[in-house]
């Protein structure tokens, strides 16, 4: 087990290296810092002076990989790759192009993201699994037919419409909750309840369909027939046998998402003006702040790889058949 974990951890290293090199190529080689400077400073009539200053302030004026002008180890360290990319391995995100401390930003903004993303995930899964179980319980009836038809309709609506419609209905027409905003204190729930509801509803269509197929896969299995042959009632069969087996793909599917809860949801946070990492990312994209985008790419990848690792571990916990070595 521990050998397995160490091996998986070691496998993460080349993955992170790959992500790092890919982002380095995208952000510094395909387009040079000169291009970024020109983009930031405005296209026309930017003097070489201004560009040089802009690059110097942000440390983009170093050579990419090898500093000819420096001595000793500085030949390696005094480069963009070392300063901007290697630091990411140690979660040293540096400063944004606007001069903000990205690491500090991430630390403060991840809490609102967690506050909205965690209950969304938990509630979403709970609702979807219960509805899917209900549909499976009533399979081959009109309830299943119309339920599935409704799911297809629900998943054919763009998530933007759920948010816009929800804000209009609950925020403006019914005036039940504030349309957007966030408060860290005890009143946070008033701001969270609408995005929470909307994210749960917008996920029902595809979620219920997905869990239903998981359940139906199990319902056809031989051991379910054995359970029925024991005389067990339909509910008992569903809960102790079908659900217990389907939990394996369900749980492992969720575990991979857990670390990514930190980065929050892009759309929800941006629409509801929640100061989390999702809206941070969107702002960075819209302000074309490459330093933040780069940091978020790296952070997102790390968390995803962590999620993969957790998935492997969770298999051993929920599936007695899996022994890792």
């Amino acid at each position: 087990m521990s050998a397995y974990l160490i091996r998986r951890l070691l496998y993460a290293v080349p993955l992170l290296l790959g992500v790092n090199i890919l982002t380095f190529l995208l952000f510094f080689v395909v387009n040079t810092p000169d291009d970024m400077a020109r983009m930031q400073l405005g296209q026309k009539r930017v003097g070489p002076e201004a560009i040089r200053d802009w690059k110097h302030e942000r440390g983009y004026d170093l050579p990419l990989l090898w500093n000819e002008g420096a001595e000793g180890t500085a030949q390696v360290t005094e480069t963009i790759f070392y300063q901007k990319s290697v630091g990411l391995f140690l979660f040293r995100f540096g400063r944004s192009d606007q001069g903000r401390d990205i690491g500090a930003d991430i630390r403060t903004r991840m809490w609102p993201s967690l506050a909205i993303a965690t209950p969304s995930l938990v509630l979403g899964v709970a609702v979807n699994v219960s509805l899917a179980l209900l549909v499976v319980l009533f399979r081959l009836t009109y309830l299943e037919f119309w339920g599935m038809a409704l799911c297809v309709a629900l998943m054919s609506v763009s998530s933007l419409f759920y948010i816009i419609g929800g804000q209009y209905l609950f925020g403006k027409l019914l005036q039940l909750v504030p349309i957007s905003g966030y408060d860290g204190g005890r009143d946070a729930w008033r701001f969270l309840i609408l995005p929470l509801t909307i994210s749960v509803i917008s996920g029902i269509g595809s979620g219920v369909r997905w869990y239903r197929t998981l359940f139906l896969d199990e319902v056809e299995k031989d051991y379910v027939r054995t359970a029925r042959a024991k005389g067990l009632g339909e509910l008992r069969v569903l809960f102790t046998h079908v659900l217990r087996n389907a939990l394996i793909p369900i749980l492992t599917g969720i575990v991979v998402l857990l670390p990514l809860l930190f980065t929050g949801s892009l759309l929800n946070e941006s629409f509801f003006a929640i100061p989390g990492l999702g809206s941070y990312t969107i702002d960075a994209i819209q302000q074309q702040d490459f330093a933040i985008v780069r940091s978020m790419v790296y952070l997102g990848s790390t968390l995803y790889i962590l999620g993969l690792l957790l998935t492997d571990i969770s298999y051993t916990l929920v599936d007695p058949r899996v022994r890792l070595h």
């Binding site: 050998a3 081959l140 054995t226 024991k230 217990r244 007695p320 070595h325």
Partner: protein
Amino acid sequence: MTGAASVPLLQVANLRTGFLQGGEVVRAVDGVDFHVGAGETFALVGESGSGKSVTALSVLRLLPQNGRILSGSVALAGEDLLQLPELMMGRVRGRRIGVIFQDPQTSLNPVLTVGTQIGEVLAWHGLRRGRAAADRTLELLEQVGLPEPRRAVSAYPHQLSGGMRQRVMIAIALAGEPELLIADEPTTALDVTLQAQILAVLKTLQCDLGMALWLITHDLGIVAEMADRVAVMQSGRIVETADCKRFFARPEHPYSRQLLERLPRLSACRNHRDAGGDAPPLTLLEVRDFKVYYPVRKGVFQRVVDQVRAVDGVSLELPRGRTLALVGESGCGKTTLGKALLRLIDHNEGELRYDGVNLSRPGSDDAQRRLRAPMQIVFQDPFSAMNPRMLVGDIIEEGLRALRPEIGHDSRRERVETLLVSVGLPPDARIRYPHEFSGGQRQRICIARALAVEPRLLVCDEPTSALDVSVQAQILALLVDLQRRLGLSYLFITHDLGVVAEIAHEVAVMYQGRIVEQGPTAQVLLAPAHPYTRRLLAAVPKLRCG
């Protein structure tokens, strides 16, 4: 001994069952009448697809979603089960009727412990609770003869072997103390030696508990050993019901007679007239110290810490124009050996000589490819052995295209048609797809495909065990005929000693990667030297009454 004269426990009358397929009902059981008396053993015999399992599932009302009971009645001690509400039916299943399904691999819930799965029955039917339930579980596991029942209680199914799992299935079925036990092919998925043990357990338990046993099987050997009465089923109907003694002595229905005739007998060892002249046959294939290992990797850097010895130092000689049967239970390495001989799997050590040419030294890819023609393979499952997306003609000529590209289109087509005729199929089978043929016909196509490149050696990997008994005999006859006409050599891999007796000149018995005994068929089967061979032979069900 219990007789059939008592009041019937289960009375099935005019049962019709069908499946909804594309808006139409396809009949699976078509008007079946039979009864099972209290305490007796009743066997329902038939080939796969004859509707015997569907009959059992209909009685239990456990048909798959598209299954429909169309008419008839099923009376358990006078009470019509088909009229019961679902809730009441739950008190019959598991409590008054227990079931054992064919495949213990898939019939147990993989994520629940054995104890939970047995205890569930006790609790649900209100038989035992708490400590008493735990004691009863243990008692049941002891009853079915599970070694170390205490450890088995907390084990998961995957930690048990196939035979142990089937014992657990029996324990589950017995937990409700049923009056009737339905055993649907209880030993088909198991090896011969295990088969005998499971059958013995069933027999003892039935005697001890005095319950009725309804045995569903395709194997007349098992019927002869177990049953009081037997019913033969063919395409959804029961064609003959008889007392077991009478049945084996004087089968009445032609189909019953056909089934009995096809039953392979060990005593019918192949006589060696067709072996050729007096001169000792020349060796075609020679294997020395052949080893195939699979590495076991462990630790952070996945170092190879151990080897699974699938084939562990085998030496064989296969004479020209003869059949060598390779016998052994599943997992003994016989299939691995067959594939390694064809170089579909790399071997780690040893020498492989075909007609004096050393094949184990890898030459260039192209040279290796050219050396493939003389050795071909016929697989067990004729359904997965052919690409469903290709026409039969394309399947057969594929080898010609690859190894004999110089043959033109027209003569290739001609050869395909000749091959089809020689395996007993019409030439226009060429332009049809594999799924349009039955299992036996498919196996003929597979043989034609192998013959297309004019091999001198065929590795036949259980070529008949996926087929029905009546078809098995035809395929065996075809193989014998082809051997005589073309002078082929066969390496015949099988677990079925009856087939061995019918087809093989020589037998090699394989056990845990090694050959433990080798010799002429009659000698090995009738006077086995190795204890393992003796165990194998002892496990073959004998025709008690016949």
